[in-house]
């Protein structure tokens, strides 16, 4: 599975990740939690092979992430990233062209569920619709690992429900999922593990069920305890 070993990432004047070692288990749903600037996005982008570590390693099935791991790891950025000249249909065609695990039928199903049509232009979508499109394109893949960076960011309640339905329905297969979010309460209902990042360091990895049963704490309570 996916493992970061002493992962450090420095930018010109900032340390985004500092010696982060995390090992993901297969079939688990991880909540990646931390305040802004804690390193969640950098960790995910490194796992997706978009960002090169300064030191340390990010391994997928024992090998450094790269071209091969991109076939099995689906990453969804929090920012819109589709080419502005595309239509919703073009996005599906693009994913179909590049990802063997992409299902056009599943993509169309998700589009219907999210009230999107293939002739819609990407540049004309509202932020909520753009977020739905990212989810549809990403979740139409049959990837082994899904990395979803703030999928609910800036989305209204109804759109959130659609997005979470799409995410949950994609979990029928045994996949590993990492979801970063500020909305701790919303993620708590389906996350099985939680990773807490603060100032670029992994502070704690815990089992959500254990947290409730043994410590009698909710994920939100634990989050406040760690971050405050």
């Amino acid at each position: 599975m996916l493992e970061s070993i002493h992962l450090t990432k420095n930018y010109l004047n900032k340390k985004a990740l500092d010696d982060v070692s995390i090992k993901l288990e297969k079939g688990q749903i991880y909540a990646l939690l931390g305040p802004n600037g804690s390193g969640k996005t950098t960790w995910m982008k490194t796992a997706a092979g978009l960002t090169k570590p300064t030191s340390g390693e990010m391994l997928y099935n024992g090998s450094p992430v790269g071209i091969e791991s991109r076939r099995e790891i689906a990453y969804m950025s929090t920012e819109p990233y589709f080419f502005h000249w595309m239509t919703v249909g073009d996005v599906g065609e693009y994913y179909q062209d590049f990802f063997e695990d992409f299902s056009s039928d599943r993509y169309r199903e998700l589009l219907t569920e999210m009230a999107l049509t293939e002739d819609m232009k990407v540049r004309q979508l509202s932020s909520g619709m753009a977020a739905k499109l990212k989810i549809a394109a990403t979740m139409a893949r049959k990837a082994s690992i899904f990395l979803l960076d703030e999928p609910l960011n800036g989305i209204d309640l109804i759109a959130r429900d659609h997005i979470m339905d799409a995410v949950i329905s994609s979990m029928e297969n045994p996949v590993t999922m990492v979801i970063s979010s500020h909305l701790v309460e919303e993620i708590e209902s389906f996350a099985s593990k939680a990773v807490f990042l603060r100032d670029g360091s992994a502070v704690e990895v815990c089992d959500v069920e254990d947290l409730r049963i043994r410590e009698g704490k909710s994920l939100a309570y634990k989050y406040r305890e760690i971050m405050e």
């Binding site: 076939r71 990453y75 000249w85 590049f98 990802f99």
Partner: protein, 254 residues
């Protein structure tokens, strides 16, 4: 690679369409001027076609550079680097797309120029006289198919090497500056520095006098030397393509 190439062509489709439409408009003006014998239309058409052939190809190249710059300095880069393609393939598709555009554009404009010149001659005189006139013209300026091929090859390889150097400069700034301010200026200065450096290198070869000088000179030197220039430019293209791919692979974080 074919899918990457498909989307590279798609990215510059609007500009290509604009160049094509402009060419068609000026061609129609040229033909109208020719048929109706209106010198103003003929002149406008000729001038416009010349601009389309030169500026059009230049603009297409510049747009490709701008597209790469935008992609590397925005989340659109994820569309490239999330796919299971190597950096060499990604940048290779861009170089190839420019090469194909340049080659097809160059051939089309050369053929169009030949046809227009021929029609102009036919309209001005009868066919045998035109052929004789063209033959005389060719003889006077000593232009033969080998010369035309050499000039086109030098233009093609020279411009492709310039574009590849520009891609290299853009990738270096993206790797070092990560989309910070003045990235464009940095790219441009780096590009200039490399071109000047290559110019100094070439000026020390027995082939010519600096990059631009040698580029111009390569079109008037004997055929064999012209082909040597082309090989040199293609060598620079290959070198900077490999360097760009390596930097993208090892250093670029998007």
């Amino acid at each position: 690679m074919k899918h990457l190439l498909k989307y590279e062509f798609r990215k510059t489709r609007t500009v290509k369409t604009a160049v094509l439409i402009s060419t068609c408009i000026f061609e129609i003006l040229f033909l109208l001027g020719l048929i109706c014998n209106v010198p103003v239309l003929l002149g406008t058409g000729t001038m416009g076609l010349s601009f389309c052939a030169t500026l059009g190809m230049l603009i297409l190249g510049l747009v490709s550079i701008a597209v790469l710059y935008r992609e590397l300095n925005s989340p659109q880069s994820y569309m490239l680097f999330l796919t299971p393609n190597s950096s060499y393939k990604i940048i290779g598709a861009k170089v190839l797309e420019n090469g194909i555009t340049l080659a097809v554009g160059g051939i089309c404009f050369t053929v169009l120029a030949g046809i227009d010149l021929f029609l102009w001659g036919v309209q001005a005189s009868d066919f045998p006289t035109v052929m004789h006139l063209l033959s005389d013209m060719m003889g006077n300026i000593q232009l033969n198919p080998a010369d035309i091929a050499r000039i086109l090859l030098v233009l093609f390889s020279g411009w492709l090497s310039v574009l590849t150097i520009a891609f290299f400069a853009v990738v270096v700034q993206a790797s070092l500056l990560n989309g910070r301010r003045f990235g464009g200026l940095f790219s441009f200065l780096l590009f200039l520095a490399i071109v000047v450096g290559i110019g100094i290198f070439i000026s020390n070869l027995p082939l010519g006098q600096g990059f631009l000088g040698s580029f111009l000179q390569s079109m008037v030197v004997p055929v064999s030397t012209g082909f040597l220039y082309s090989l040199l430019y293609l060598g620079f293209t290959a070198l900077f393509y490999a360097l760009t791919g390596w930097i993208m692979d090892k250093k670029l974080s998007v």
